[in-house]
Amino acid sequence: MSESASAAAIGFARRWLLPRSVLSGMLCVLAAFAIGALLIAAIGRDPVLAYLSLFEASLGSTNGLAETAIRTVPLAFCGIGIALAFRAGVFNVGAEGQLFIGGVAAAWMGLQLGGQPQWLVLPAMALAAAVAGAGWSAIAGVLKLKFRADELITTIMLNYIAIYFVGYLLHGPLQDPGSPLARTARLAAEARLPMLLEGTRLHAGLLLVVVVAIVAQVFLWRSVAGFRLRAVGHNARAAENTGMNVKAALWTGFLICGALSGLAGFSEVAGVQRRMIENLSPGFGYTAIIVALLGQTNPLGVLAAAVLFAALQIGSTTMESAAGVPSALTTVIQALVVLLLIGQNALPRLFRRRAVTGS
């Protein structure tokens, strides 16, 4: 398989757009739903009603599509960041913590700049979020590059630390004056992302993430820096031998992931919550790991995987409210979709091998 941009685009199209693979992907989703249907029936609920409401809530209505798009934004931001880090050989699973840090930085900046024009406030907030997220990620970077501490572990630990640290800020210095709740004051109108669609909550973060996905795709497959990033990820020693700056590529991996996850925090704060809250993310940063890898660590693929996951998550909670399916079951169905999808990716390869080496 070639790794050039055009071939990647073909690969992407083949994976996501051509009927055959979409068909088999759909089959997986259907199979997961079929198993889910049995479980739903087992507790005496109506699977048909459940799935109708799932579809309706995620893809079958304007509002559903908008909600799916809203959920796509943080998943795709984090997922693309994680994907680029993985490409550089950096196993950064700290998106969750970076998102929280980015969110709190965005809210802080938004409150500082209250009253300034929107064209100034929003970019400043985004910048603050990206810088803060990258800075948080840089802690893991320093630990890895200076102390050789495994980033898979340090980033998990840093997630906990970030969340508690944000908790401290929201209970302390940044707490909304006059409120006992752990949250910042509400952001002024200039500090909120514009809405895209009347009657829905869809905000401009979607445009931002689509742009980011396209830029990331071009960066990864067409730019020299992206090439070096991939090369370092494949073989750091050879990269060094060919004069590439290995540390720079690893830092890129850490910082991009942190910055994009920080932007996820920004878009949640400025687009959805309109302030920083203690539970900003229900595990976006962790789900994004699955999203990144299901998307083959290809920015556009990640975007597609994020849409799939967003639709699934949106739809499945509605399934709970509309058809009385316990949320536990919707979690099961999500996991089954992932497992069947990766199984479907692997199985044909397995059979092909068998056919060749078999005597």
Binding site: N63, L181, R201, I277, E278, G324, P326
Partner: protein, 295 residues
């Protein structure tokens, strides 16, 4: 049609169970169709509120202090739907709030704890320092101090809502520091009381079955009357946007049966508690509400 979104699992024997039970009770009482979603995160809250509103639910409860914003936003877009948010700061014409008055019960629990303690130290274990938890803690402490001004009240926040093993360890640490009556604001504390052979005060529901020898009594909170009343008001068209509070005075918050363990409590204190309940009901005493941060 009444709906509710809850921040945690309805099986928690705690906050979420109370919400769920209240909803069920109101559903039965009013003959209303009810629906709920559990384990709702702040990120999902607004969407689910809108979702319920869109699907024709006329009364929707956002059963968490952190859903206030979400409810406010949803209320704006669905003026014909009535929203009720748990301890919301800002209200709208179609958004009311209801408070969690279990701190009133906590005051009584504090009195009982002080009246039971032999060591002069009592404990309190909670999940996260949220306003209702802080109110509960401060009231508990005030209640204890009313009975024994010199009493020491130990408190620990374990840093998450649901982590029974950790809550148990936190409680054990308090016992080792001398506490011999524990207020259990989370699963696990009663386990510690059983292991360490001290008393625990249950919360939200009668938790005596979790430790028949250890659970002195529980501060119960029954949301049924409130949900039912709100529902009735909506049906009647008499609903008003205000703070609905059903506490001790409305028999929504109270103490569960002692299951025979009241012999361990100083009779004078038992009497004082009963008087206090009467005073609250009569309106001659108001339990102080204090949600300031600790430390």
């Amino acid at each position: 049609k009444i709906a509710m979104i809850l921040p945690g699992p309805i099986t928690d024997n705690d906050w979420n169970s109370v919400g769920y039970n209240g909803l069920e009770a109101a559903g039965k009482a009013l003959g209303a169709e009810v629906a709920y979603v559990e384990n709702v995160t702040d990120a999902d809250a607004e969407r689910l509120l809108r979702d319920f509103a869109e699907r024709g639910y006329k009364l929707i409860f956002a059963h968490s202090f952190s859903f206030g914003d979400a409810a406010l936003n949803a209320a704006e877009d669905f003026p014909d739907t009535t929203f009720m948010a748990g301890t919301a700061a800002e209200l709208a014409p179609n958004l009311g709030t209801y408070s969690n008055p279990d701190y009133q019960g906590a005051y009584l629990a504090g009195m009982l704890a002080a009246g039971t303690s032999k060591t002069g130290s009592v404990g309190w274990v909670g999940g996260m320092p949220a306003p209702n938890m802080l109110a509960n803690l401060h009231a508990y402490e005030a209640g204890a101090k009313e009975v024994k001004p010199e009493i020491k009240v130990l408190h620990t926040f374990i840093g998450s809502w649901f982590d029974p093993p950790k809550a148990k360890e936190a409680a054990i640490a308090q016992v080792e520091q001398g506490a011999d009556v524990l207020s259990a604001q989370g699963v696990g504390v009663i386990d510690a009381a059983i292991t360490k052979k001290v008393f625990a005060l249950g919360a939200m529901t009668d938790q005596n079955h979790l430790g028949p020898e250890a659970v002195l009594t529980s501060v119960t909170w029954d949301l049924g009357p409130l949900v039912t009343a709100v529902g009735q008001a909506v049906i009647d068209g008499t609903w008003k946007s205000e703070n609905w509070s059903y506490g001790v005075a409305a028999n929504s918050v109270g103490l569960a049966d002692f299951h025979g363990l009241d012999k361990n409590v100083d009779p004078a204190v038992l009497k004082a508690v009963e008087d206090k309940i009467a005073a609250i009901k009569a309106g001659t005493f108001e339990v102080p509400l204090d949600t300031s941060e600790v430390q």
